[in-house]
Symmetry: none
Subunit: 251 residues, 2 copies
């Protein structure tokens, strides 16, 4: 049975009476009953604590919290995912996958082959929706922090949101350099990571050239054409699997 | 005991002092002590060399590398994915992802926490549907061959469909051994790969124990709980990204 986790603002040790949406979440969503254990985490600080429900009375719930400890963060290193804005609900799925697999920031980029039209207001509405999906995915996978989600930006601007302290990789099916070698080095150095990939139709040559001129390394992950919504899971999965031995144990 | 392998960037013959994450990896993950032999490989070139740890002192490690040689074998194309049968259209998505990411055989396994009920006829109907999805996905990503899709089988039988020539990994959130270290070795040896993962509710302890008793290595890909439909993309993505340096160039 997996451990139930709940976000508790201003988490501190001791007993506390919770009401409103939090009590509802504990009682109705997590279905905690008196005496049930769970893990509480503070979304603001990333700290967590063992917790036990003491009493559930109607719409309120009393909970005893133990000592605080650092939470299970996704990875020590930062990982930014820049995604060419895709159609339909593909972006929702990408936010969910990227969050589970440890992305710390997600930026949607409007590139030449982006089909979706967004103005300022609809862009902000989409951002708010993705941020909600990210928080929900973080909660479900037991991550104490949710990734930051930016409002959609033009390709050039999206690239410039990542500074050159990052190991930056532009994923392109026309590239010849394999991602593996360079990514391994970046993981070993513990460098913050950034990846950029195009929308359904891919990136245009001029967009790839722009990334390269800004210091991004243009890399391939093999000869087969992946759907854009698979790229994030595959690459962030690789980071997660191969980065694990380099994660400093939480001592 | 299998030979321990470690990725060493910029591998060259002679003695070298390693620090930071690589030394941590050699000492803590591979548990190498002074005088221990291992095989080093350069992820950028695929070249390898015999290596011996000369001294391990705190966070640094001195290693002597021998002459470089081409990596032992090309990577095998074979990768079997055993998936705990999941609800709704999750299995469709898993077939699509696994096909794009290079799986050569997909087996759905009925485990204790599988919710879906299938009899022989509905099992065969689902198999035919998944095989069609696999062919379609193979075509779309430019793959010449489509993976074989088996009809759903009980967990025990699904495990037995993979012989022990395979490097076999049972993915379990309760495991402590990270997949990475052992997968390196399997990729470098060119062993055919097999992975097994549970359905939505995960595997029961007895199912994990059964896999272990049959010679599967029970491994973790990190502390966060992935949805079952994300695991295939993440793990096969890792195989694809990190297997690339071992692929023999097509001469």
């Amino acid at each position: 049975m997996t451990v139930r986790r709940a976000p508790i603002p201003s988490l501190s040790p001791g007993e506390r009476r919770l009401e409103g949406p939090i009590a509802h979440y504990l009682g109705r969503v997590l279905r905690l009953r008196s005496g049930d254990p769970f893990v509480a985490f503070d979304p603001a600080t990333g700290l967590e604590a063992d917790a036990t429900t003491v009493r559930a009375e109607g719409a309120t719930m009393s909970v005893r919290f133990g000592e605080l400890r650092p939470g299970a963060r996704a990875r020590s290193a930062e990982a930014t995912w820049i995604q060419g804005l895709a159609k339909g609900n593909k972006c929702d799925a990408i936010v969910r996958d990227a969050t589970e697999l440890g992305a710390t920031r997600i930026v949607f980029a409007v590139s030449r082959r982006t089909v979706v039209k967004l103005d300022g207001a609809s862009g902000e509405a989409r951002r708010a929706r993705w941020a909600r999906i990210a928080r929900e995915a973080a909660r479900q996978c037991g991550r104490a922090d949710a990734p930051i989600v930016d409002a959609p930006a033009p390709w050039s601007e999206a690239l410039s949101r990542v500074d050159d302290a990052h190991a930056r990789f532009c994923l392109w099916e026309g590239a010849v350099v394999p991602l593996a070698a360079q990514l391994f080095d970046a993981l070993a150095r513990g460098a913050p990571l950034a990846f950029a990939c195009g929308p359904e139709g891919g990136l245009e040559r001029s967009e790839v050239a722009l990334a390269e001129s800004r210091g991004w390394t243009v890399v391939s992950i093999g000869p087969l054409a992946l759907r854009t919504e698979t790229v994030a899971a595959a690459v962030l999965g690789a980071v997660r699997v191969w980065g694990a031995p380099f994660d400093r144990p939480s001592e």
